[in-house]
Amino acid sequence: MRNRIAFALIAVLLLAAPLVFSPFRLDLLAKYLCYAIVALGIALAWGRGGMLTLGQGVFFGLGGYAMGMHLKLVEAGPGQLPDFMSWSGVERLPLLWKPFADPVFALVMVVVLPVTVALLLGLLVFRQRVRGAYFAVLSQALAAAFVILLVGQQGLTGGTNGLTNFQLFFGLDLYDDADRRILYFAIVVVLGLSYLVVRQLARSRYGQLLVAIRDGEDRVRFLGYDPALVKTFAFAFSAGLAGIAGALFVPVVGLLTPANLGVVASLELLIGVAIGGRYSLAGAVGGALLFHYAKTIFSEQWPDSWLYVQGALFVAVMLWAPRGLAGLAGQLRDLVAARRRPAAPAPTVLEEARA
């Protein structure tokens, strides 16, 4: 019951935000909410499933590019080329782009593209029991390789410039503040729905299975489950969420470039979750909002020291609050309990030490 009240309260607050904020700040909030959607997926894959994905930007990008390509084609009008193609010397619309003129196709691809890539990578690596640090390193390499691929195909992808300059989003005029408000509401709704779905997933038997795999993958294997499939599903699900977030990010921010999905961007998606608390969905959402908000504030006030702050955040959270802000309360409780019963074996969080 209390959960529902809190959920309703937050929903009301988010829906009331346009009354308080200037359009500029509302845009920023909308952007943070996109990151929060990604955070939900990371909390599922990393917090529950123990898969430290350092390449979530790739999925964010795939969703974003699927959407961006569609918007670019709408912008250009039928039979016309998107602006960047003309200055990249492309004369005919590449085959890859053609189906994206269809809005339904583009929307489907927003989810299908990232999910497919995640399924493929997941099945390949998880079946071979590549996990833990190895998986983290590989997912990071994926992000690095993906960026290089995007940048290298300038005629197809806009290169480093990425896709920019969108004015229309499914009938919304992105130059108009009222229409942008509608976009904001849409994002709030998507975030709310994503939250509910991930929560259901986390509480289901599947969610328990995922936690079990995180804490003892081999043991689960001897219970007759195929951990590779279970993990791949969670990984693909988180990829799908990232894709949706990327697709919403494009109209909010008005552009998408490879820099938004590279190694550093992917890590930034992760650190919000770490700060908020990877084991708590609400913590992950809150952490993502807080981190990106802090990033905006710091880079406005003390641009030179942002790296120090960001670095210190990583260190402090890992050192003193590995369960994030959401875990701090529990940590304090454990601490008090440990004082009372000095020898109490506090349950520790297991992670795979070896690949």
């Binding site: 071979q128 590549v130 190895y134 050192l319």
Partner: protein, 292 residues
């Protein structure tokens, strides 16, 4: 002709990769610690050469090698004592922790040495090259020799010295080593000191061929980790083979395809994923009966 050239070039790319990843085979391979700040230790090594330059003059690079080993080693030791020590068994948390530290170190370098690249002059005797169809610059030969020398020194250390044997013992079975009277904490410190020291040495070598700036290390870190992953945990020969294989692969893809440099990176990634399909633990594995 072209093939031979590219083999030679591949070997020299491999030597750079090997040098950059050698320290990681210790810290990542032996201790399971993903040290994202490894790249910044490389950077520290490079800046060591820069700082020594006005004091030593032309031979700064040579003098810098041992000094950078110490600088990197001490940085690694501090990192281990202050932080990593508390993180054993939590490798993924270590990754994020050290990423934070790497950001801080980068900004420190920016504040101390300035954002622009600085210049380290190579000693005169390293400026020439040998002609074998393709010209192999002396500085590449130097890097190759340095890499091979480091590998030789490490394998000697691991097999012949008592300290080194302890290190191997801890790596293979920490608990068993601990109950057999090995001070694992001491060994961890030594491992981190050497691993980070090697990063420092790599940094000095990299001043010969590339830029010296605050982001020097971050350019190598992903590749270096890939080498260790492909080579297998804690496997010196795995890392050596992986580094040279990736180097040669890189040079061939880059040579035979148009716009190859971009393409090569993608191919290398794909090949590693494919490779892990039949060698999921990397090239060489330690057999163990433990569950997970």
């Amino acid at each position: 002709m072209g093939t031979l050239n590219q083999l030679v070039i591949g070997a020299s790319i491999g030597a750079v990769l090997l040098l950059a990843s050698l320290g990681l085979t210790f810290t990542f391979g032996q201790m399971g610690v993903i040290n994202m700040a490894h790249g910044e230790f490389i950077m520290a090594g490079a800046y060591t050469a820069y700082v020594l330059q006005p004091l030593v003059g032309e031979q700064a690079v040579l003098v810098a090698l041992p000094v950078a080993f110490a600088v990197g080693g001490v940085l690694g030791l501090i990192l281990e004592r202050l932080f990593i020590r508390r993180f054993y068994g939590r490798p993924l948390d270590t990754l994020l922790l050290t990423w934070g530290i790497s950001l801080i170190l980068q900004q420190v370098a920016r504040d101390v040495f300035g954002a622009p690249n600085v210049q380290v002059t190579a000693p005169g005797w390293l400026t020439g090259g040998i002609d074998v169809g393709v010209r192999i610059p002396y500085n590449r030969v130097f890097i190759l020799v340095l890499a091979v020398g480091c590998v030789a020194a490490i394998s000697l250390y691991l097999s012949k010295l008592r300290q080194g044997r302890r290190m191997r013992a801890v790596m293979q079975n920490r608990q068993l080593a601990a109950v057999s009277g090995v001070a694992t904490g001491r060994v961890d410190q030594a491992t981190f000191f050497i691993g980070s020291g090697l990063a420092g040495v790599a940094g000095v070598a990299l001043t010969l061929i590339g830029p010296v700036g605050p982001t020097l290390g971050s350019g190598y870190i992903v590749d270096a980790f890939l080498v260790v992953v492909a080579g297998g945990l804690g496997q010196l020969r795995g890392a050596v083979i992986a580094a040279f294989a990736l180097g040669v692969l890189n040079s061939f893809v880059e040579f035979w395809t148009a716009n190859g440099a971009s393409f090569a990176k993608v191919v290398v990634f794909a090949v590693i994923i494919a490779f892990l399909q039949f060698r999921p633990q990397g090239m060489f594995v330690l057999r163990s009966r433990a569950l997970t």
